[in-house]
């Protein structure tokens, strides 16, 4: 029997339904308020150039743990993903477990930031944020949670400044950049990174958006909007969708020299595995990391395949290395309901067990 069995009246009904939802959705879109980004109360405590270091307010009834936690997000996209809405917030979950949470917002680099290098980011901005928090709390070492590229930064930073890091958590962090199935890595191999950076100066966020959409172009740039029609009638769901849409396309430009080094040393040369990454005057060696490490990755991650994160095992000198595999994707690990119940409490518990002063 021929498998397509669509009755004409049902098809008309389906088309009518699509149009009706679009019509109603238009009203909801017009009435959608300004899209908020970041929901938990926080205040700025330190600033340098475009970087702002925030400290989140401790919720009522929660006693903060003595060792603060610094969240290091990627330069790609914006850190409000970790606190995107009231019921889907990694930050909120961490606060609930008693973490005293700080977060670095790298800002939006412009032409004046083109010459910033990885050394400037790690031994400059990040180190000064860590020093600020250490000084503020009177501690020698603090906890660090690095996310995605921010996780790579955190690994490198810890390998250079192990004395300032008490516990290290990495989330969806690539270590082996050339595992099978890593499309981004495959595509970058034939790119002339020097020519691209020399030509563009900073690397535009639009180029990154295109690259990420190209991972699944039909689903991410097409099917998603058909599915969207189904939720148009619910103003709250519309707002959630718009919030996520804003985050996806809110891609800061990348400081040219930092992009050059990151793309070449990691995507092309796989430097954390093969060695040869030099930051400032120091060669990165993950064996310098001796503190406890929690490596959290997502099993359905299409940006950072699980194997890319799992490669960390055995590369550090930590005697307390733990892995946590989350059954979800690269974004779901922050925003899914399951992640709120599983991932954040697990991180909080792991940190609390290791954060006695």
């Amino acid at each position: 029997m021929f498998p397509i069995d669509i009755r004409p009246d049902k098809l008309v009904e389906e088309m009518m339904d699509y149009t009706r939802k679009l019509g109603q959705g238009m009203e909801n879109l017009l009435n959608a308020d300004k899209i908020d980004t970041g929901v938990s109360p926080k205040h700025a405590v330190f600033q340098e150039d475009k970087l702002v270091l925030y400290r989140y307010d401790t919720p009522e009834g929660v006693t903060p743990r003595p060792v603060p936690l610094l969240v290091v997000y990627a330069l790609v996209n914006r850190p409000y993903m970790t606190d995107i809405q009231e019921d889907r917030s990694t930050i909120k979950g961490l606060l609930k477990t008693g973490q005293d949470v700080y977060l670095i917002d790298w800002g939006y680099p412009d032409g004046a930031d083109r010459a910033l290098t990885l050394d400037d980011y790690l031994n400059g901005y990040l180190d000064r944020c860590v020093d600020y928090i250490r000084e503020a709390h009177g501690l020698d070492a603090i906890n660090i949670l690095g996310i995605c590229q921010g996780g790579v930064f955190s690994l490198m930073y810890t390998s250079m400044h192990q004395d300032k890091v008490k516990n290290l958590v990495t989330m969806v962090t690539p270590v082996d950049f050339q595992t099978p199935g890593n499309l981004l890595s495959t595509w970058v191999q034939s790119m002339d990174i020097d020519l691209a950076v020399d030509t563009m100066g900073n690397v535009p966020g639009e180029l990154l958006n295109w690259t990420f959409l190209s991972l699944k172009p039909f689903a991410l740039a097409g099917q998603k909007y058909v599915n969207m029609v189904d939720v148009l009638e619910d103003p709250e769901k519309v707002k959630n969708f718009l919030r996520m849409e804003k985050w996806i396309f809110d891609s800061p430009d990348q400081a040219g020299e930092t992009f050059r080094q990151f793309a070449k040393d990691f995507y092309q040369k796989n430097g954390l595995i093969n060695g040869g990454v030099v930051i400032g005057e120091q060669e990165i060696d993950l064996k310098n990391i001796t503190c406890p490490v929690l490596n959290v990755y997502a099993l359905q991650d299409h940006l950072v395949p699980p194997a890319a994160s799992q490669a960390m095992k055995g590369l550090t000198s930590s005697k307390d290395y733990t892995e946590n595999a989350f059954p979800g994707g690269h974004i779901g690990i922050y925003v899914s309901g399951k992640a709120q119940k599983e991932v954040t409490p697990a991180i909080g518990t792991w940190l609390n067990e290791r954060s006695a002063v």
Binding site: M1, F2, P3, I4, I6, P8, K10, L11, E14, M15, M16, Y18, T19, L22, G25, M26, L29, L30, H43, A44, Q47, E48, V52, W106, Y108, D110, G111, A112, R114, A115, D120, G124, R128, R134, E135, A136, T186, W187, Q189, S190, D192, L195, T199, M200, G201, E206, L207, W210, S214, K216, P217, F218, A219, A221, G222, Q223, V226, V229, D250, D253
Partner: protein
């Protein structure tokens, strides 16, 4: 009347009535006249959108347009398969013919930038997605439209262009002639890379259609049926994504992708060099000069910060205090340069105004 007959005649009539009711409604509400009726459902949707879109904010407008474009793709696809969907007569034969026709379209587009390629772009908005993404991105990086070279005649004039480019520059302006020749060479290389990229997607289309055909045969074997336009669309997306994932993970595609980006960058770089030369001629600062200054300034800032850090350490060493003050409570807000200047109020990071994407050709039809 059999089902096939319904789809031949009544289906169009149903749509036409639907369109007329929408037109009537819009006309009453907005005082607009009717439009194209060759594709009634789409026309009705477009008509409605023209009436309401002026009041929509930009962000909502873009989102609605995407949803409308994809909605059109969805139902256009079903229309393509309608004779098969009717089930009357040789349903599988009609369905296969629809797939064959689509494949022929893709095969026709493999010829390059000619009519075949344009035909492909017109055929399915769905297949525009990778191109659309590329165009928007390319446009945002360049003062030129992203598809500037897309439809430029290539093969027909290639021989002539080669002759022009191989002619040596002469006399006082020979360097300038050479620069323009190099710019043209870069443009041609980019065009060639883009053609190859386009051809890749045509091949992908052919393979995706084969995959869909295979999927339908699996459904026949399992006795399952598809009873909605949406289900066909979802299956189609899954087939496309599956084929895409296989094809783009190959070294061959990596080379194609790299060639496209590299060619675009080389073209843009050559343009920048020429702009710089003109700026220099006008005694204005050039991009190259500014970059040199940026590099030197950053080097000085690095040095300054290193010196401040060392001075602080020395100061503490002289005073006999630890380099790091041990306070019990978090310090008030401060900037990184508190020792040099009073701290200014902290500003929230602000995104730069993004360049508007400006593909010249409509991306969906």
């Amino acid at each position: 009347m059999n089902k096939e007959g319904y789809f031949s005649d009544d289906w169009l009539e149903t749509q036409r009535k639907y369109w007329e009711s929408w037109t009537e409604m819009s006309r009453k509400a907005m005082g607009l006249e009717g439009g194209d009726v060759t594709s009634p459902w789409q026309a009705a949707l477009d008509h409605w959108w023209k009436a309401v879109s002026p009041t929509a904010p930009d962000a909502s407008k873009q989102l609605m347009e995407r949803m409308m474009d994809q909605g059109k793709s969805l139902f256009k696809m079903v229309e393509t398969f309608l004779p098969g969907a009717a089930g009357g007569g040789d349903a599988w034969g009609a369905f296969s013919k629809a797939l064959d026709d689509m494949q022929k379209g893709f095969i026709g587009s493999l010829g390059g930038m000619g009519e075949g390629s344009n035909g492909l772009h017109r055929r399915l908005a769905f297949w525009e997605l990778p191109y659309d993404n590329w165009q928007r991105m390319a446009s945002s990086l360049s003062p030129l439209p992203g598809d500037l070279l897309r439809n430029m005649p290539h093969d027909a004039v290639k021989e002539h262009i080669d002759k022009v480019l191989s002619a040596p520059g002469l006399g006082y302006t020979r360097e300038e002639q050479g620069a323009y020749q190099e710019l043209m060479r870069c443009g041609l290389r980019f065009q060639k890379a883009f053609q190859e990229y386009t051809a890749f997607y045509s091949q992908l289309g052919i393979k995706a259609i084969d995959r869909l055909r295979g999927h339908m045969q699996e459904l026949i074997t399992s006795g399952k049926t598809i009873d909605s336009a949406r289900a066909i669309y979802d299956d189609w997306v899954n087939c496309c994504e599956a084929v895409y994932a296989e094809e783009v993970s190959t070294p061959a595609y990596a080379q194609l992708h790299g060639d496209l980006i590299n060619a675009q960058m080389a073209f843009k770089h050559r343009l920048s060099v020429m702009v710089d030369e003109n700026l220099g001629a006008l005694n204005m600062p050039t991009r190259a000069e500014i970059r040199t200054l940026q590099d030197r300034l950053q080097e000085i800032r690095r040095e300054n910060k290193r010196i401040v850090r060392e001075l602080n350490a020395l100061k503490h060493a002289v005073e006999g205090t630890p380099a790091r003050a041990l306070t019990q409570q978090p310090a008030p807000v401060r900037s990184a340069l508190t020792s040099a200047v009073p701290s200014a109020p902290i500003k929230e990071p602000v995104a730069r105004k993004k360049t508007g994407a400006k593909p010249t050709a409509p991306t969906t039809k």
